[in-house]
Point group: C2
Chain length 147, copies 2
């Protein structure tokens, strides 16, 4: 008799999804190593929920308050040319938001980071250093959101 297929493993139920920087009872903020994109963060819902419209309004607002607080912190710290926000989850359907600072000279600009790279120019050293300081300062910046 064949066994039933095991339930699919969710990477975001079974791991932080990056370097854990901050969390509250709703969600966490992680840093991810995306080559050419310093300061790339993700906000991950703690529970396994597929879509924003599956969340109650209160939970939706709490999650988005963290997304926008992270955006504000990244902007204050790095002064990028643009911010990109996205909730996709086609491979990992567990709610998570990409929060991505963009610069006119980055690998993909003006395309999304998922498009074909335009060039392979290295990240300026001072930008990488500023991104590392931004990451270090993130827990304090989000302290009001109930860590």
């Amino acid at each position: 008799m064949s066994r039933p297929a095991p339930p699919p493993v969710c990477d975001l139920c079974n791991g932080a999804g990056g370097t854990l920087l901050w969390q509250n009872d709703c969600c966490r903020v992680v840093a991810v190593d995306e080559p050419g994109h310093p300061g790339f963060l993700r906000v991950v819902l703690n529970r396994h929920v597929r879509e924003m419209s599956d969340l109650a309004e209160t939970d939706r607002n709490r999650l988005m308050a963290v997304v926008f607080a992270v955006e504000a912190h990244v902007r204050r710290s790095l002064e990028p040319d643009k911010m990109n926000l996205a909730s996709l989850g086609n491979l990992t359907p567990h709610l998570h938001w990409h929060v991505i600072p963009r610069w006119r000279d980055d690998r993909h600009f003006p395309g999304p980071v998922w498009s074909t790279a335009k060039h392979e120019a290295p990240v300026p050293g001072d930008r990488a250093a500023a991104a590392a300081r931004m990451v270090d300062a993130l827990p304090a910046a989000l302290a009001d959101l109930g860590a």
Copy 2:
């Protein structure tokens, strides 16, 4: 004497940005023709504002309430495999949200719609017809949000 450079023209200040389906005093919903992606909608802020963290909390919540109501309507109408939400604006830095139903057999899945297409399979006819009905029904679905 040289004249100052004219201000850059913003496509979303000078046009709807797609087929106008619904609007209130905050934002509008437009349908866009993205080949291979039926039911692709955008929620466009009426004012020219660059980033979500430039908006007051009230305006941010009003805009996101429309984004999530649009997502809910698209899901109810089309039952896609996944929803994708994104605010990018690298080319047009005037706040607008992409609201994109995704199917396992669509051109780019599981990649974002901005990645290299995996194949060129045509959209099933019944899906295109359902997307057209979803668009027709959108104004009634958003009536509570103050059209």
